[in-house]
């Protein structure tokens, strides 16, 4: 009886996911095997439904992996691929370094203050992402806020807008709440008596931290790292606005192929490659989530 109710509840969301999530991916996979054409929509082959089975055979016969071969031969795509993973990787490392002390600090505060501080960390996430990245342009540009302040102090200015450094700054800035929250969630739940026990047995606070608190918080660090790494690898807005034309990332390549070059098969093939790379991190993230929930 109860079971039937929950199966009924599942039907609509399941159908929604099938139509708007699974089916579209199959279309991307199919399109990555198609060729570009000057047509609307700009690719061939098109499925000819009137021809029935024969039309389907002709359609399947016309699919090939030409686009992938083309991408593999072009140095640009490989560079974009590698720099996406590199920037997302370095960004995740920086986020761990910066997010951990913040999350740990919050978990050490009295409970009432903790809740307010968590709110303060989440609040910027509720304000527009695009606007927050845009604000960094005003700060980082050659005659921007940062350089004006540096000059006023008699220091030399720095010009990092449109470089990878600016992209990393933007990534760390935008994803910091996603790193702090899972870390905080696990640090806050930790049993304080473990630390007391260690100290009773003669451990210094620092060694108690390294030997108890830190190892126990690693699942939170893993959750935060995955939650940040996966979307960062496909990030578009940050490399586009802060990285200038210098920085290549796959999200930007997909955007350019699609909007500027109108090469839909290439955009699809890049998307498939990115997805294939992210499958393992995504599965790891899901296993982590299941463990947290059960």
């Amino acid at each position: 009886m109860k079971r039937r109710g929950s199966v009924l509840a599942a039907i609509l969301p399941l159908l929604w996911l099938a139509v708007f999530f699974v089916l579209p991916f199959m279309l991307v996979a199919k399109l990555s095997l198609s060729d570009t054409a000057l047509a609307v929509p700009p690719y061939v082959p098109q499925m000819d439904w009137d021809q029935g089975l024969k039309g389907m055979q002709a359609f399947i016969a016309a699919l090939d992996s030409e686009t992938y071969v083309r991408l593999a031969k072009d140095r640009l795509y490989l560079d974009a691929y590698l720099s996406s993973l590199r920037l997302a990787g370095i960004g995740t490392g920086l986020l761990l370094l910066i997010g951990y002390p913040v999350a740990y600090g919050i978990s050490r505060c009295p409970p009432t203050l903790r809740l307010a501080l968590v709110m303060a960390v989440i609040l910027p996430f509720w304000t527009s992402f695009l606007i927050r990245i845009y604000a960094w342009i005003a700060i980082l540009k050659p005659a921007g806020v940062l350089n004006t302040a540096l000059h006023a102090l008699g220091l030399p200015g720095i010009d990092i807008l449109n470089t990878e450094a600016a992209v990393l700054l933007g990534l760390v800035y935008a994803y910091l709440p996603f790193m702090v929250l899972p870390l905080y969630a696990i640090l806050e739940r930790q049993d304080e008596r473990l630390i007391e026990a260690a100290q009773d047995l003669g451990s210094t606070p620092l060694s108690a931290f390294w030997r108890i608190t830190f190892p126990l918080s690693l699942p939170g660090a893993a959750a935060g790292a995955l939650l940040c790494f996966i979307p960062m690898a496909g990030e578009f807005v940050i490399p586009d606005l802060l990285g200038g034309s210098e920085t290549l990332m796959l999200g930007k390549v997909i955007w350019t192929e699609f909007f500027a070059n109108r090469d839909w098969p290439a955009a699809s093939a890049v998307a498939i490659v990115l997805l294939a790379t992210l499958v393992i991190p995504i599965l790891m993230f899901e296993r982590q989530q299941k463990k947290v929930l059960s």
């Binding site: 109710g5 699974v22 579209p24 002390p101 600090g105 604000a135 540009k141 909007f259 899901e286």
Partner: protein, 264 residues
């Protein structure tokens, strides 16, 4: 008894929050700057706000964005409530796969989601515009809504619902009269989250929108590419103000409800 925060703890929190808030503070400050230049303070002025409200294209985009947000958040919250019920209570086969699909949408790069949805609409022959963006945003926010509602539903005491059924309620009625009011704050929070995510989305909207359905982020993005426009600071400040008010109000309401629950 937990020791209080050390100086290092306090410094980390202060620096972390300063990093998060500095750009927002600068943006808000410069929305009141009379000068067009970011680095020159030309005195306090509301001129960018006046200019903003005379910008018909911008206002149009705001209107589109709000309609898309309300509709997609409502759809996502309804579907998310159903999905949460199925995930928390269901023992059906394929549950793991269902949960897997949902969580995958949480972390999927937006460029991939946008491109795949666009291909779906092209294949189905749907004209791109208001409805395609709304459907896409529902897909984007569905998993977030589910996660929020699921967390609350997990701690809900099912015996309350069973008691209602023992007293003669149908299962559906018991859910509507007993469970739903209890999880209502989580449902409201899920709606808010879905709404904000929809307001904020540039990438998926750019892929799936068509003529006549330019959303605010799309409009802002094209302005930003053209160069710095102080009107963007003004519209950002309004958005930030609205969101901050909403979030703080939600927090206060929740606190009061929690306090009342603790007393009763």
């Amino acid at each position: 008894m937990r020791e209080g925060p050390s100086a290092f703890n306090i410094a980390s929190i202060v620096l972390g929050l300063a990093f998060l808030y500095a750009p927002i503070v600068i943006l808000v400050a410069y929305s009141f700057n009379a000068s067009r230049l970011v680095t020159v303070w030309g005195g306090f002025s509301m001129r960018w706000y006046v200019a903003l409200f005379q910008d018909a294209q911008m206002l149009d985009a705001v209107w589109v964005t709000l309609r898309v947000g309300v509709l997609s958040a409502t759809l996502a919250t309804i579907l998310g409530t159903l999905a949460a019920v199925a995930l928390v209570r269901g023992g059906f086969r394929g549950r793991t796969l269902f949960a897997g699909g949902l969580y995958a949408t949480l972390v999927m790069p937006e460029v991939i989601l946008g491109l795949s949805l666009l291909l779906l609409f092209v294949s189905a022959g749907l004209p791109r515009g208001f409805w395609t963006v709304t459907l896409s945003h529902t897909t984007l926010t569905l998993a977030y809504a589910t996660v929020v509602i699921q967390a609350r539903l997990r701690t809900f005491d099912r015996r309350l619902e069973e008691a209602a059924q023992d007293l003669g309620c149908s299962p559906w009625k018991a859910f509507a009269l007993v469970t739903l009011p209890v999880i209502a704050p989580a449902v409201a929070a899920a709606w808010m989250l879905a709404f904000t995510l929809s307001l904020d989305d540039l990438v998926i909207a750019s892929f799936t929108s068509g003529p006549g359905a330019t959303t605010l982020p799309m409009r802002l993005y094209s302005q930003v590419r053209l160069g710095v426009d102080p009107k963007i600071n003004a519209v950002s400040t309004i958005l930030i103000g609205l969101v901050a008010t909403g979030v703080v109000a939600a927090y206060l309401i929740q606190q009061r409800t929690a306090r009342r629950a603790a007393l009763g």
